[in-house]
């Protein structure tokens, strides 16, 4: 933990996104926490692993599902100073995806490296 300039501690928050964007509400409600949490000026990172990598894929069309396509919101994260997005390499590979299939710039990391990143966190919210 480091001290914030205005006093108070800054903790490292990692949001772990493990689920596909649609089919369950976890991904959408996780993003809602990230957006609200951004106002608390903590050190925020996002990780995408397993089916969670689908949350970031380009060309999502949810019209037939009658649910909101929230993938454009990931592009707005930069405005909230949320810029550390880690994507599990093995998860991309297993699903035939590459970095160019994703809607935002990310850092592709191995599952092993992701474990190290988790080790460095103060708070992990897993969705």
């Amino acid at each position: 933990m480091e001290e914030k300039s205005g006093g108070g501690a800054v903790k490292r928050f990692l949001y772990v996104n493990r689920k596909a964007p649609y089919g369950t509400i976890y991904a959408l409600e996780s993003l809602e926490v990230v957006l609200i949490g951004a106002a608390f000026e903590q050190d925020v990172s996002l990780a995408f692993m397993g089916d969670g990598v689908y949350q970031l894929t380009k060309g999502q069309d949810t019209k037939a599902l009658e649910v909101k396509n929230f993938s454009p919101t990931f592009r707005a994260l930069e405005d909230y100073d949320v810029t550390k997005l880690y994507v599990e390499q093995e998860a991309l590979l297993a699903r035939g995806l590459t970095e160019t299939d994703l809607v935002v710039p990310v850092e592709v990391v191995s599952a092993g490296r992701l474990a190290e990143i988790m080790e460095q966190q103060d708070v992990i919210l897993s969705f």
Binding site: F13, Y26, V33, G37, F40
Partner: protein, 130 residues
């Protein structure tokens, strides 16, 4: 140690709420502090006082209410998740023009900021869910 608790699943369908309850009870028995229990996703359904389980089953909602009364626990339902799923206190029901409210004793409804704050204030935030 000071714990924050996040419950992401509803009662009965999933064991997350039971496990969280047992964890909280055990932590309190060992002299630890529970800063807050935050209910998110379907976890907000743990806060309906209209739940009536069969008599030979545990009463998940009532158990939380009783533990809250005994230990002055702060049980918080996420307002956005609660609104989606029809969990209301009196003032929320009035604000949305609904004819009923269903919040169980010991629970309150508030924003997601309460979850982030629990993460900041607690030594450990423990997540219960899938």
């Amino acid at each position: 140690m000071k714990f924050g608790i996040l419950v992401n699943e509803g009662p009965y369908t999933h064991e997350a709420s039971d496990t969280a309850y047992q964890f909280v009870k055990a932590a309190l028995a060992k002299g630890h502090e529970i800063y807050r229990v935050f209910f998110y996703h379907d976890g907000v359904n743990n806060g309906t006082r209209l739940s009536v389980p069969p008599q030979d089953d545990r009463n998940v909602v009532k158990r939380w209410s009783e533990l809250a009364a005994e230990h002055k626990l702060d049980l918080v339902l996420c307002i956005a998740a609660a609104q989606r799923r029809g969990l209301m206190d009196k003032s929320e029901a009035k604000r949305h023009g609904k004819d009923a409210d269903n919040l169980a004793p010991g629970f309150r409804i508030s924003g997601l900021g309460q979850l982030i704050e629990a993460g900041i204030q607690s030594d450990r935030l423990v997540v219960f869910g899938d």
